[in-house]
């Protein structure tokens, strides 16, 4: 493979990492509080607001059931408003963030709901405020689950990032389609797939490692 093509792959890899990295950060910044709220706002829970909970649940489900490629084109005006353009890797971060936020929120909700309800009662019994319960009990206790959820989100984002090539988002998926498919260069297609497999493996292993590190539920020495 020529050095130009190798350079293309390297550049596309960085574009993918950039899009996925920023989208994962923003998706977590929005998805974590949203997920915590979804997990604690049903009737009788810490931040009980059953109606808001139901409305947010519907919005989250609606976003998650919209096919990603449709979401990308449907929100082009919004993307332009936020990023100033609808083309390129930076613009692609907008739909990636919007798609990952509800996904992360649902994963966070599930991880938080796994925390033993007795711990909430315990913290309440010594006068913890709802916010203290979230910060000092729920999130630390759910941390292994949260890290695995984030890992899953990053892996899914890598898959989504391949689709934003369709609107000029760049990245590995875009490279694979334009060179591997449209220019009929199977070795390029193969190279892109290999890089993606390696990235997913790396992210998954790192996530598993961190989750194991912070998991004190089992004997670890």
């Amino acid at each position: 493979m020529s050095p130009e093509l190798v350079n293309l792959i390297i550049q596309a890899t960085f574009e993918s990492l950039y899009m996925v990295g920023i989208a994962a950060l923003l998706g977590t910044a929005f998805g974590l509080p949203l997920g915590v709220f979804l997990a604690t706002s049903r009737k009788g829970e810490l931040f009980a607001a059953p109606i808001v909970n139901r409305v947010l649940g519907i919005v989250v489900n609606a976003t998650r059931s919209t096919p990603f490629i449709i979401l990308v084109v449907a929100i082009i005006p919004f993307t332009r408003l936020i990023a100033g353009t609808s083309i390129g890797s930076t613009a692609a971060i907008v739909p990636l963030t919007i798609a990952s936020t509800p996904f992360i929120a649902r994963l966070v909700e599930a991880a938080i709901r796994e925390v033993d309800g007795g711990l909430i009662e315990t913290a309440s019994s010594f006068g913890a405020s709802p916010l203290q319960i979230v910060l000092k009990v729920l999130i630390p206790e759910a941390l292994p689950g949260l890290l695995l959820a984030l890992t899953l989100a990053v892996v899914s984002l890598l898959g989504y990032s391949a689709m934003v090539g369709a609107v000029g988002g760049g990245g590995l998926g875009d490279l694979g389609i334009r060179y591997g498919y449209q220019r009929f260069m199977p070795e390029m297609m193969l190279a892109v797939v290999v890089v993606l497999i390696a990235l997913v493996q790396l992210v998954q292993s790192a996530g598993d490692f961190l989750a194991r590190r912070v998991n004190r539920r089992l004997r670890h020495r």
Partner: protein, 378 residues
Amino acid sequence: MNAHQSLAIGQPIETFDAISPPVTEPDAMVRFEGISKTYPAYRGKPGVNALHNIDFAIPRGSVAGVIGRSGAGKSSLVRLINGLEKPTTGRVIVDGRDISALTGRALRLAQRSIGMIFQHFNLLSSRTAADNIALPLEIAGWAKADIKARVTELLALVGIADKHDRYPSELSGGQKQRVGIARALATRPSVLLSDEATSALDPQTTRAILDLLANINRELGVTIVLITHEMSVVRQLAKEVVVLDAGHVVESGHVADIFTHPKHPITQSFLAEVIGDSLPVSLASRIVPGPSAGGHAVIRIEVRGAGAGETLVARLARELGRDVSLLSARIDEIGGQHVGSLVLGIPLGVSSAADAVTRTLAFLSQHQFSAEHLGYVA
């Protein structure tokens, strides 16, 4: 100055007294006044009347046992004391303050003076023993250095100073409960609530934990409320007892008074768990309704009270002028009082069988023993 105060190192940033003046009620630490608790119907499940017209007081510095079968309302009762639940009617006065009227921040401040330990310990798996104990202090806004000193002191108090950096998954059940106790005492509460705290522990560990609680009550003067379905817990530790059945207080008072003269069937059944109310099988199978020559009349005597029954057998033998056989005996001590029963065989000698029985029962009744003629053995 008592030991509880002398343990003080850091001061909590805010105390509850700043918010509302205490109502003057010096003798009672916890007082239930006309409490009822009804859970409304929810999602097709019918409503539940968990507690009805509860009125009782727990004296300051006492150890009170709340005993009842599952579903009797024990958990609801204890959750009213620390404000985790609100009564439907009535009020709960804790340390002179109406906790059932408090909400939000005022309630959270009051909760810092009420510690609680749990059946399943409820420790954070992500924190070491020391950090679990530190949690209520962090929540109360203590300074880091004060927390560190207080945690060290508490670990020593509960006898696990060497487990400072251990995670709950590395501790045994008894050690976990010790962490739970240290955590509950961290903010120097005046009341310690124990919700079936020994139910998940083996008998030996249970005894050690109950001894620790007795020490804490004695040394720190903390009032302890024990929620339990185990008579052994009440027997070993409690001075006062509240017997709960189907949401009603059926009996309450000093442990010795309640269990030497149990009135309600539930109380009697709890007592029977400790002292047994059935005869040994080999004896029961030999008892016949009619007397036989050279046999014995079988008399069961209830033993209730301090030192009761100690010389009874000898005195009865002297009264009858005959040796009396001891067929079965089961006597335990509850609240410093002897509670149990003796089963004696009264020899049917020269006088008629009816005469021996009559004389025995008359003697016992004269000495205020309650006795029952069960039959005869050969």
